[in-house]
Amino acid sequence: MRAFTKMFTAVDQTTKTNQKILAMVEYFTFAKEEDKIFAVSILIGNKPKRPVKTAELKVWAAQLADLPMWLFEESYYTVGDLAEAIALMLPAQQSEHHFTLKDTLELLSRLTDLPSDEKKKLIISYWMGAPLEERFVFNKLITGNFRMGVSRQLVIKALATYLGQEQTSIAHQLMGKWNPYEESMASMFSEESHLDKPYLPYPFFLAYQLDTDAENLGPISEWYIEKKLDGIRGQIIVRNDGIFVWSRGEELLTDKFPEFRSLQTSLPNGTVIDGEIIPWKDDIPLPFQVMQTRIGRKNISPKYLKEVPLVMVCFDVLEWEGEDLRQKNLVDRREVLKKIVSEHTEGKLLLSEAMEFNDWQEVAAFRKNAREFHCEGVMLKRKSSTYEVGRRRGNWWKWKTDPMTVDGVLLYAQSGHGRRANLFTDYTFAVWDGDLLVPFAKAYSGLTDKEINELDNWIKRNTLEKFGPVRSVRPEFVFEIAFEGINSSSRHKSGVALRFPRILRWRKDKSAKAANTINDLKQLIEAQNP
């Protein structure tokens, strides 16, 4: 555990990617062999199941530190991170434990089924045998919100360096759900390891938002332009007479989509298709909200299946007849894809049409009004592009339509977590309903560090009331809130629910009175769902 904590601290302390990679490579070089696969699992963001309730953890820590609960809670607000708050408040280390990373994770999984007082005993003894940094890492593992501050890409680079393999092959082997208890470094990363894993998806090729003038992309004839649909990006795999449907979040969703089951026989073995899974009825997609409700359901009734039928709008084929097509150009891949969609798929698979435009201005006009065409913008793909690994610039771009915006008044503020702990960075915004301000959105992102500091100072001097970590402030400042979608909602006080709200800018030029009204929001909903 010492080595892992040392690596975590080194990664945490630096913002330089090279230093982070170096710290990981050093860890893999010197760590205990049995620990490495667990470290990989944690580094790419897998989290152990939380074995204790945080409420219990708080009580045990406060008791051990001999602090009243109210003081513990207040200190926790200030730190903004429970794992760190506990680590800081515990009494000084008393002994030295000898847990490895694997031991530690095994301890955590063992805890789940133990009675509460046994859990308490084991956790306290771990705490008292560990120095500050190690307590913090341990607590992070217990509370299940461990984030390593490295991107998957960096982990892949470090593993590639350590193992002397290509990054693309590491990325491939890391895909999907795997269990570190059932794998070893050898079973995961040997060159043939993917052969006995028919379920293994390919790493997705992801696009950045276009950040230059489209005219700079060159002749429009070199590009495919497709609708960017708002569904779930997924991969359908048929191999060894089985079907596997993966989301881009690498969740295996096969059981959620019974529609696709028949593809297992209609598609030949050795087929992998990339596309957008989306509810589709009468030739148009249904709103994303409908999909979300469906995904959330445990059991899907036949009636529901009929009401919210899914299709995959396919835009790429990665494997056909067992052959990896990713290095072929997109023109060739689309030819194969067209053939598959027309011959094998009984309407469950649709082809993502390449739209015809004469110039980039026409594309820009389409993108501007994308919502009218049931999409959220366009995808631009170079015809000569191969299927790359991860998020890359250059050959694929997404070009989303501008978000909708509303001006809201800052009403409540709450301190953030992690890097933003102890700073008021989580804001609630309101619109006018007559003389009343009705909260309609929470937003956390969009301000610069400088603006956050300025606002934080102002909030501290203009607090009206404190409710635990939340403060109400003088309704004075107006912010332009951007969002991707708006729907009516019975669960929200304002009667509306926004999709992906964030702060676009601080409207210092506007007074609170000039903010939008609840009627403005209702009109947006009507305009969107005619």
């Binding site: 945490d12 913002t15 200190s75 991170d81 760190e84 408040m89 890097r419 702990a421 934080d456 001097r461």
Partner: protein
């Protein structure tokens, strides 16, 4: 005997304000930091080792009197004396006695010796006014010798890898403590003007600190593997970037928290403070034997409640002018 007013802590009988926020006739200054020693007062009284700093910062022509620790002066029957606070050179607690009633205003203070300022001495009193900058149990500062060892180790490693090291610290106080502890065998030491100003002033008083002032004439190309000490105002200015390749560290009690460390946007955060941490605060309060505690500047409400609950003290929260802005380098 003391009142908490708009202008600061006031003793009507002696007609003197302690660290006033607004201009008054008579100001008693606990130490030279700018939020305690402000412009525009008629007359200043402070410890003799603070004279230099006061004149440096407020002008050579201010009307100011310096006295020694434990030396008593009388004002309209109030006996006033200064006692070591251990915060920075010349920092003092103020003791006021009238008809057997004793008040102590701690100013800023710490219990752990920094090797430069005269260490804190507890003063018995009935009423104690304490700051609470780090008045939460999450603040448990590591032993200073350990911190200095890590600073020197960090410098050594940076130098070996071809980097300059930049330390961000208060120009008055912390910079001198750090300079005092740097291992000069590792490399050369350079100072930002704001730091050099202060060390030069102290040098005139007989103190001795290493470090060369970086002036426009300094040949920056010769600066390699060196240590540069600068105040936070220098961060993200061209002045700093000229030392690249460099690694930067902030020295502050706030660096105890990971969020603050990451927000500082530097390579390292060293937990080094001239204030009390949680344990020191409790020790200091109890050592005064005071029944009445007034908590200012920091987590006053929380800390006062703790003192009432845990120790049965008559502790109250005194609202200071403002809540401290997050990110102040205490």
């Amino acid at each position: 005997m003391l009142e908490f007013t708009e202008k600061g802590i006031y003793c009507p009988r002696a007609d003197v304000y302690i660290d006033p926020w607004k201009p008054v006739k008579n100001a008693l200054i606990t130490h030279g930091h700018s939020d305690h020693a402000r412009f525009g007062n008629g007359h200043y009284l402070c410890h003799q080792d603070t004279l230099t700093i006061l004149r440096l910062r407020l002008g050579p022509d201010i009307s100011v009197q310096g006295i020694a620790y434990n030396q008593t002066i009388s004002k309209n029957g109030v006996k006033i004396s200064l006692h070591p606070a251990g915060h920075i050179i010349g920092s003092a607690q103020v003791r006021l006695e009238y008809k057997g009633e004793i008040w102590v205003v701690s100013g800023d203070y710490k219990l752990i010796p920094d090797g430069l300022s005269v260490p804190f001495e507890p003063v018995k009193c009935h009423h104690f006014i304490t700051e609470s900058t780090f008045g939460l149990p999450i603040y448990n500062f590591p032993a200073t010798q350990k911190v200095y060892a890590s600073i020197n180790g960090w410098w050594k490693q940076n130098a070996a890898e071809g980097f300059n090291s930049v330390i961000i610290a208060y120009a008055l106080g912390k910079s001198q403590s750090i300079l005092h502890q740097l291992d000069q065998s590792i490399g050369a030491i350079f100072l930002h003007g704001a730091v050099a100003n202060v060390t030069n002033a102290f040098q005139a008083e007989g103190y001795n600190f290493p470090g060369t002032w970086v002036t426009p004439e300094t040949d920056r190309k010769t600066i390699k593997g060196a240590m540069i000490v600068a105040p936070s105002s220098a961060l993200s200015t061209p002045w700093i970037t000229k030392f690249s390749p460099s690694r930067k560290a902030v020295c502050s009690g706030w660096m105890q928290l990971r969020g603050a460390r990451r927000r500082a946007g530097v390579d390292r955060g060293f937990v080094l403070s001239d204030h009390c941490d949680w344990a020191q605060l409790n020790e200091a309060v109890l050592a005064t034997g005071a029944e009445n505690i007034y908590v200012t500047h920091g987590y006053q409400a929380t800390y006062a409640k703790w003192l009432r609950e845990r120790y049965g003290l008559n502790a109250t929260e005194i609202k200071t002018q403002f809540e401290p802005a997050t990110g102040d380098l205490e």
